[in-house]
């Protein structure tokens, strides 16, 4: 008898106050409560976190790797968006 596949969750952990939650892996759990408990055991055995988010994997919308060029090229060609594009004389000091 086949049991239905257990849902997949993505795990995000905030390691210290002031930092953002960061993706650290995934796990299977029947529901959100069990996913949180499992994330605690699997991903924070050495004090890695102060806060955990679990998100159903199928709720994530991802960009398509084959669209990479189209999506990100515009940012690459706009060097004037970076501070180093602008000349400031040394005499002005740090800016």
């Amino acid at each position: 008898m086949a049991t239905p596949n257990t849902p997949l969750w993505e795990v995000f952990i905030r390691s210290r106050n002031g930092l953002a939650h960061k993706h650290c892996g995934s796990l299977h759990a029947a529901d959100a409560t069990m996913a949180l408990q499992a994330a605690r055991d699997v991903y924070t055995r050495r004090g890695e976190g102060l806060s955990i988010w679990v998100v159903p994997s199928n709720a994530i919308t991802a960009s398509d790797p084959s669209d990479k060029g189209m999506l990100f090229e515009p940012a690459e060609s706009k060097i004037y968006r970076h501070p180093t594009f602008y000349d400031v004389p040394d005499e002005v000091g740090h800016m």
């Binding site: 257990t6 892996g25 796990l27 029947a30 699997v42 055995r45």
Partner: protein, 330 residues
């Protein structure tokens, strides 16, 4: 955390792929780019990695059995707490690895079923018994030591999720080796009987540990393509030699004798070991090791005994979801 040479590949199917895509893929690998789950990849790359990562995961899970055998009989509370934490880590490592394998498109259930059906392999080393407490020290010192040698290069493997899982694993691994060495050191500084127990464990584990690195380079199949794909970065014999060179001085410090009368140091400082009994390795892989049947039986029993938990969790989640739907409809 344990891998062995599970680096067999399926080069034969690659001819069917679109040559241009395959070339572009190889160019990315050659440029040291990481391949991510949704990227195009040759079917053989996917299949090779699925097998290697899942077998690595199975090894972690089966690896809990020989050590779990001693949790209730650890000599002190300190040792017991450490062993419990180590076995829990092995379970965690198995879970990181299953998650990485699943990103290649095979479900966790299929991966586990393949292992339980005897279709997927796990590391041969776990088919040896842990007869005394010194075996726990030896496993940490040598088996985890050998695993670290194998896993450090895997942190730079071309497949992103596998490399990331390995980085996590390697961070946690060094505690395992140190706790094992400490057990050995304590035994070696103890009574005559304790030292004899340590020597006996080394005598039994030494050769199986050397086999963990897989067949010698001249007979290792499919290594070339794994190297070209940057899944494998060092050959079996290179890693084995590195391990032996690192381990001999540690054994000398402990005052233990490596059970290889023919071993000697060459002019370059490398410790040259005698011929390995590859027939034993083949026998253990074929299912005829001392504990193969016990390990499989234990895994199947654990899976079957846990069935009601999986069913209950799924039923409860379904009930809650239905109740939420009903409340939303009101």
């Amino acid at each position: 955390m344990y891998t062995q040479a599970l680096n067999t590949s399926d080069a034969e199917t690659s001819g069917l792929e679109d040559a241009a895509r395959a070339n572009a893929f190889q160019a990315r690998i050659d440029a040291d780019e990481r391949i991510e789950p949704n990227d195009w990849m040759p079917a053989a790359y996917r299949k090779t990695l699925t097998r290697q990562i899942s077998q690595h995961a199975h090894s972690e899970i089966v690896g809990m059995l020989p050590e779990g055998n001693w949790i209730t009989r650890a000599p002190t509370l300190r040792r017991k707490a450490a062993l419990l934490a180590k076995v829990q880590d092995e379970c965690g490592h198995g879970l990181y690895l299953y998650a990485a394998a699943e990103t290649l498109g095979t479900s966790r259930e299929e991966l586990v079923d393949a292992m339980l059906a005897g279709k997927a392999k796990y590391s041969s080393i776990f088919n040896y018994p842990t007869l005394t407490w010194a075996d726990i020290g030896t496993i940490g010192w040598l088996v985890d030591g050998a695993a670290i040698m194998n896993q450090i290069p895997l942190c730079r493997c071309s497949y992103g999720p596998y490399a990331r899982a390995m980085i996590r694993v390697c961070k946690e691994e060094s505690f395992h080796q140190r706790q094992g060495f400490e057990i050995m050191l304590t035994l070696c500084r103890g009574s005559e009987q304790q030292k004899a127990m340590a020597q006996d464990a080394l005598d039994r584990w030494w050769w199986p540990v050397l086999m963990m690195f897989g067949p010698p380079d001249q007979v290792s199949q499919h290594s070339d393509i794994s190297t070209r794909w940057k899944i494998k970065r060092f050959s079996n014999d290179e890693l084995r030699q590195k391990f032996v060179d690192a381990t001999v001085p540690q054994a000398q410090y402990l005052g233990l004798t490596i059970p290889d009368p023919g071993m000697k140091q060459d002019a370059d400082g490398h410790w040259r070991y005698s011929e390995i009994d590859w027939d034993e390795f083949r026998q253990v892989l074929a299912g005829n090791g001392p504990c193969n049947r016990d390990r499989m039986a234990a895994r199947r029993k654990a899976h079957d005994d846990g069935a009601w938990v999986r069913e209950a969790a799924a039923a409860y989640a379904e009930k809650r979801a239905n109740r939420q739907l009903a409340q939303a409809a009101e």
